[in-house]
Symmetry: C2
């Protein structure tokens, strides 16, 4: 198989389908989404058998338990995909929205109209349900999509692709509006990220290695998500009950997620009042603590274990029940720590002080900045986007959780009545 | 000189200055802009002598007349730079604007806050006044800037840089907030576009060759402006008086600009009614016409010269008194032509038909789409942006004229009262 020619042919079909999608109205797009949901429901047996092949291959290839778990398409996960499609169908259509339409002194009327980006390339790893999530967001936002899933889920993804094609056909849309790469050839990724004539943006979903490789090779803009090294800073003007709840929730609500707190910063003035209770709660949850000298002394005095944190700990995205803890002099020291070590994903301050809260909100340069709330809220659903294609740690185009709007752009529109430039 | 180390040192200083700029309030930023204006006014003699050196070198190096003209800093151009600074000072500050602040079912309040991008790298060619325009937009939007002008304007740019430093100092801002590269070493561009730790976005301003080279080499996002192959389509439901005025203005108001019409498309039904009058007017202005067979026949019958257009003419950005003309069957044929040949900068339809106007506006995928107005309006000032750093032909981040807003991003802000994720 000539992988270059194959990927180019997908690009050409996607570009043509993207044009049809861009002018398809909301009703047609929603009809397709619901028809895909219907096809998934009808084809449960087919999906289960395709997924079974992937699971068997995975076991033969000694995939670890976590990967196998992600790979499995249980009936509940199929229900989840169907429900996700219905939710995306229920969202407002972002395409065509006209804003800021104003008259100018010359007499022309100028505004902005929201438009699809065109063709989205999505590269992801093992979870086959991403195929449906990604396809639904691209379709709703009037784009075509080329999806490249992990090789370990190839049969599941192809079965899902069949359902998507059925749904598109039922709504009278081109079945090339969503194309799932049919080969496990690793060269497909390299080709996809350089198809600059046919693909407008690449969204990688996966581990840091994948995203770094794609950013390096891509000649197309990439909406990327690197680390989530998130901080909670407990200020000495904090309500200590809120501080305890937020610091506990941000770490222990879920460990393997990008918006979990990885480093806790505590103002010197309240460290002795808040750290012993927190340390006991973390210890009870089995969270390993790694602290600066001052925090270790306080935690040791309260009979909990806390090893010495190294420079690497301040930079670590553990994605695990491990927490770095540092006592800082004040909010400025906390913001300096964040400036130096944060991955600029999400940071929260706990304080009752108006001026400090306002300064933290204004001055901390991360994609989400919070006052008196758990970092775990940094999420497209929690923010009301309805769904997310990822969380961007970039500053350009889209920052933070990316929903339908991040898959669109805005063009200028001008209405005149024969106006010319004098 | 170690160009790599030098550019990196600029990057480090810019990053630090960017942090100060990001938290500087509007009053301080405006004070700096007005102080720069004052310094330019005081240092006119110095500017003239530095510019004189560049002009002498340019003449010795046989620069052509157009380049020498762009290079010259006349008193009127210095007035223009001063006036530009005052206008930017008068614009609303985009930084800190909070939008879409809403409560979510969880009880948290979520919104977006506009923030500077950080450090902007700008690479431009001969015009030294770009140094002031670019610096003023970066400062007002709370960013630091690294400016790399053409080697032929190095002395003028350094003299302007001195005025900018004075103005920054007068407002108590770091004089590294705007750094003008002090070497003409061509390696500086290659270094600047790969300083991914210190520079957040690159804005190239110049010819296609420069922009293509930068896009190829950059490891940082680029806000780029490629061709302006703009179209006017005269529909058979057009008011022919408006059609004449717009088609004449879009071509002849200025030739060397990206928003000038390069191809005129005319519906078959009105070609005989509108082309003879237009051809006579173009001929009077010395505009060379290159047409399809049908348009040539009509223009020849009215005793004007029109050579045969080749495929290259449909793709050409002439930036000159040359116009490609094509008769098309209807609006769909016009949109097909635009789809195939346009650079997606600006297209206009002239029509009185509601449905066709609406379809053209919705379906044409260009950064500006107009009804009954001259393409010459596609401009940051005409659109009310106050100033522009360029016109983006990209779809990602900023599309069309880019003003202060294009130099910013939005972060999410979350206000809670001790909220945790359940």
């Amino acid at each position: 198989m000539d992988i270059k020619a194959y990927m180019q042919s997908l690009g050409i079909s996607a570009r043509a389908a993207g044009r049809v999608m861009a002018r398809s109205d909301s009703g047609v797009k929603n009809k397709a989404l619901l028809a895909i949901a219907g096809a998934l429901d009808e084809d449960r047996a087919l999906l289960a058998s395709a997924n079974g092949r992937d699971m068997d291959n995975g076991r033969s290839n000694d995939l670890d338990a976590a990967l196998l778990d992600r790979l499995e398409l249980t009936p509940a996960r199929i229900d989840g995909m169907i429900e996700g499609l219905r939710q995306v169908a229920a969202l407002a259509d972002p395409v065509g929205e006209v804003t800021a339409m104003n008259y100018r002194p010359s007499g022309i009327q100028v505004g902005k109209m929201r438009v699809p980006l065109g063709v989205i390339g999505i590269i992801y790893e093992s979870r086959p349900n991403v195929t449906v999530e990604a396809a639904s967001l691209c379709l709703k936002s009037g784009n075509a999509a080329i999806l490249r899933g992990g090789s370990e889920s190839i049969h599941s993804n192809q079965a899902i692709a069949g359902c998507i094609r059925k749904g598109l056909a039922a709504a009278g849309l081109p079945d090339t509006a969503v194309q799932v790469v049919e080969t496990t050839d690793r060269g497909a990724v390299g080709e996809l990220v350089t198809l600059s004539d046919y693909v407008d943006v690449i969204v990688p979903r996966g581990g840091k290695g994948l995203i770094e490789r794609i950013s390096r090779e891509a000649t197309i803009p990439v909406i990327k998500h690197l680390d989530g090294v998130c901080h909670v800073y407990i200020d000495d003007k904090a309500d200590l009950e809120k501080a305890f709840n937020i610091a506990f929730n941000a770490k222990t609500h879920r460990y393997g997620v990008c918006n979990a707190m990885e480093t806790l910063l505590v103002a010197e003035g309240v460290a002795e009042a808040v750290l012993p209770r927190l340390a006991a709660a973390y210890a009870e949850m089995g969270v390993e603590m790694r602290g600066c000298e001052q925090s270790r002394a306080i935690i040791a005095a309260s009979k909990q274990a806390c090893s010495a944190a190294s420079e690497d700990d301040w930079l670590a995205e553990y994605l695990a029940p491990i927490l770095a803890i540092r006592v800082v002099a004040d909010m400025d020291a906390a913001m300096d720590h964040i400036e130096k070590y944060s991955s600029r994903h999400t940071e929260a301050i706990v304080t009752e002080d108006y001026t400090r809260g306002r300064r933290f909100l204004n001055e901390v340069d991360s994609s989400s900045v919070m006052i008196n709330a758990s970092t775990r809220f940094a999420d497209g659903f929690e923010y009301g986007l309805g769904a997310e294609i990822g969380i961007s740690t970039d500053k350009i185009h889209a920052r933070g959780p990316v929903g339908l709007e991040g898959l669109t752009s805005q063009k200028y529109i001008v209405l005149g009545d024969g106006h010319i430039r004098e």
